[in-house]
Subunit: 546 residues, 2 copies
């Protein structure tokens, strides 16, 4: 029996394109002599559909799309994922299901039991968990078909009390198929391979795992679909961040013949780089945009975002705007120009002096007798924001935000100024990770000027300003932030790890006090296990540790 | 037996103040001869604590606060709400519990079973549902003690499969106590009274219901705690939007003596008005701010926000800034000045002409040969945003956003311009509701100039612009929006209700296309059953109905 695993990129709510893509794949694989084509979780509507799931019409269209696909399965079978109405009155209105479709008919419906409701996931907001489990019989095989999280309890996951595979094993299946929508985080691929391999080993069954690929605003699905033999050995690992269909002969996988040799996995920085490229690409493509704009300061953050955008969209589609003020150093302008030259993007210089002066003069009456302070710094940042948005409005460019996670964490940024943008590209990368990305970008030639990498970071909003005037070295800052944000440690525990008490308390206070700013920041491409945005929900008027 | 119901205003994560307030109330009620003081759900940490619940230290402090309170209960009992560690490894890490504390000891722990995970609620993100139920014995009474949602399944709520009161009835309790954190929506008070009354009737028991009061950023808890006799008759309804403690003699309530006559409930507009006042007041108080600033255009939205802010904070703490452009009509300036005079707030005029000119001149090189369009309109709105933020930065004013729900819905607003602000005051009020608020504000005298109320709405960003140039009348627009947003109807269903097909499809498209804007708007005071913000989660790159 031949099985095709289809790792495809879907678009939320774009039923026409998703359905067309699925049907096309079914037709192609039929010509390949394939018996069963497997698509990923909620492939009909894209993942995550969020509150569109609360619109009955949305659910009806999902069903209609499935019916349309079913018609195209004469002589072949497929597995698709979609939301389905819960016929029972009690409980949530929907199930997250897989349809097993064979020869034009929906033969069986498999429901998801373990509903992730943590971090970026809200599945219990919409779905009722499955309570019954049944294998699928197909061409002499008994298939234990599950949906994503349902394989993430091997009887030892403290989150769950049910283990769907334990239930399915009562029917003695001879293979496992899992359809998933598992988003990227730099540490998630190893974890995924480990957990899935453990499933194969525990149940002594081969496993075919199909993941979603493609970015949906914040969430970047990395693909990397997997096949394991019954010993838990990895015998196929799909490309990451790319659409791909591979065909397997089930009998061969069952007898543990290694079908393909895989390339060694990429390191975290390469993965993050690829993820961000896909994140930008899909944000533009799925929103119907082509051209990006960003402010280029000569610093490392905007340089890295510019390089990523040029790789994702083509340098000819990226407009870099230099907006020097009286505090901008000559080297900043030169560094920014060098980058634009190295990379070949469009570039223009719009000095902000006259605008900042106009603000100062207009406000002179109000500010009589008061010294310049952060107000005037913010006016500069906001004047740049207005200029970039004006260019965006006039020419249809989409503004990329260039804030990094370290500054976003401590609130070191100007709301409606440098915090503007349609999407935050490196907002989930700490400053130290931004330097790693810069080095990776320069792996073959100097794209980001060495001077940009080597000089001390500065916002250049007042004379001789340096980030280190008000923040500790990023090496230390990022470690403290990681312990607080990703590891959720208490200040006591972080101090016990050897960091200065006053510093730790100051940093945590800054993080908590900046919630109001982060609330209004653009969506951020998520590459870590704990990104700002939908996966981290904090009170704004809270007083804890502020 | 005397029972005191304490309807108090807590502050998320402010353990010191919350604990102090609870202890003070216990002391006072002890002197009143009260046997049992009942506080609301999660009173120790405030509701909703959101992802602070994922910090183990936060949970430890909750327990320590409870221990501190327990020490103060010599000779008296109390019920408090807090999150507690789930001692079992499987399942979520926490329970949402009520501690029954008596004479210095935590005598019993009651867990919440029905965990709202819809709209603004995320309880299953954190909490494991209770599976066992037990009454509390106290001074010869058997108390069925439940937490909020646990009374919202009378065996007929399609969301839930468990009915906690049915379980508790097996022990034959003689009264019910429910501690809640139930946020305001203009239609929620009647619903609440109906459901709770049905509980009393179904179980033939008196019910003491204590709600949270006070605003926590978006969510406004309205209090309105309730007491019902065993026939389901309402015998006490607490004040709305105010802290209040009332004492009851349980024996008298059981025998259905009406203890107090209540004033007739307020109408929706009055309720919304009170809710917004509390929302502003608590946002400022809990954030440690005193003074507000806003742009006053002469239009109805900023006028209503100004009046609300003056009522909430005192007119002397509100700064209204008039920022006329060359398109501002004389009557706009006069109307804005009249309002400021009527209300007595601070006022200043900062014309934006020089700034808009500076932007135009600076961009002239880039925009050569291109006609003025929405770009220049947005520059005006954004110049105002920068000016207001500059005033905010220099003087410590907090910027109030003045967008209404109708314009927020259709994306009729400028990001980083008029969409700036720390909190959106009327962002959950449709334009037609804003007019109702204006009439209510003028109930005794003309505060909002009649001309502001009577003139056609206009953004005044180009000559003779009117909202009606690009939008239907608000009467129609708001009804279509309500059907789509609050009622989640399909375009077909809305058209079937008698609205123009082209118009309906255009409006829905506008709503869905504006998700990216709403993502970056300030938190919005929630007064409806479906507000933009935490309770409505939509994909940004989705293509459904765009």
């Amino acid at each position: 029996m031949k099985i095709a695993l289809a790792q495809l990129n879907y678009h939320i709510g774009n039923f026409e394109d998703n359905t067309k893509k699925i049907i096309q794949t079914i037709h192609n694989q039929k010509q390949n002599g394939v018996d069963l084509v497997v698509f990923s979780e909620l492939c009909i509507c894209g993942y995550p559909p969020r509150d569109f799931l609360e619109y009955p019409e949305f659910i009806e269209i999902c069903k209609a799309s499935a019916d349309e696909i079913a018609k195209e399965t004469k002589g072949i079978a497929c597995i698709i994922g979609l939301p389905m109405v819960n016929p029972v009155v009690e409980g949530k209105d929907l199930f997250n299901v897989a349809f097993f479709i064979e020869d034009g008919e929906i033969k069986q419906i498999i429901k998801k039991a373990l509903l992730p409701t943590y971090d970026v996931f809200d599945e219990y907001r919409y779905f009722e968990p499955a309570k019954e489990f049944k294998c699928v019989d197909f061409k002499g095989h008994k298939i234990a078909l599950t949906i994503c999280e349902d394989l993430w309890n091997l009887g030892d996951n403290p989150l769950y009390q049910i283990c769907p595979m334990d239930e399915l094993m009562k029917e003695e299946p001879d293979l496992m198929i899992n359809i998933a929508a598992s988003p990227f985080a730099y540490n998630h691929d190893e974890e995924r391979i480990f957990v899935l391999s453990q499933n194969s080993r525990k149940y002594n069954l081969p496993l075919f795992y199909v993941n979603h690929v493609g970015a949906q605003t914040e969430l970047i699905f990395d693909g990397g679909s997997l096949v394991f033999d019954r010993a838990g050995d990895l015998i196929s690992e799909f490309d990451y961040f790319k659409e791909e269909v591979r065909v397997f002969d089930i009998e061969q996988v069952q007898s543990a013949i290694v079908l393909s040799k895989e390339s060694p996995r990429q390191n975290d920085t390469e993965q993050v780089y690829q993820a961000l490229i896909l994140g930008i690409k899909d944000y533009f493509k799925k929103s119907g945009f082509k051209q990006a704009i960003l402010g280029l300061s000569g610093g490392i953050d905007s340089a890295v975002v510019c390089a990523l955008a040029c790789e994702a969209l083509g340098a000819e589609n990226v407009m870099a705007v230099l907006m020097p003020s009286k505090y901008s150093s000559d080297h900043s302008i030169k560094d920014a120009e060098d980058l634009a030259k190295n990379i070949g993007c469009k570039q223009t210089i719009i000095p902000i002096k006259d605008i900042a002066d106009a603000f100062d003069e207009t406000l002179a009456k109000e500010f009589t007798g008061l010294a310049a302070n952060i107000t005037e710094e913010n006016i500069q940042a906001r004047s740049r924001g207005v200029l970039l948005m004006a260019m965006s409005n006039k020419f249809g460019y989409i503004l990329l935000n260039t804030s990094n996670k370290s500054e976003s964490a401590v609130g070191y940024g100007t709301l409606y100024g440098d915090m503007c943008g349609a999407i935050s590209v490196i907002g989930d990368c700490y400053k130290t990770q931004v330097y790693q990305l810069a080095e990776y970008i320069n792996r073959e030639r100097e794209i980001i000027p060495i001077n940009t990498i080597n000089k001390a970071p500065s916002a250049e909003l007042r004379p001789d300003q340096k980030d280190s005037d008000s923040l500790p070295d990023y090496d230390i800052l990022d470690k403290i932030l990681f312990e607080y944000i990703e590891m959720k440690k208490s200040s006591k525990a972080i101090i016990a790890d050897g960091y200065d008490e006053v510093l730790v308390n100051r940093i945590i206070k800054l993080v908590n006090k900046a919630e109001f700013k982060r609330y209004q920041t653009p969506p951020t491409l998520r590459v870590s296990p704990k990104a700002f945005g939908m996966g981290r929900r904090m009170p704004i008027v809270g007083k804890y540790l502020t």
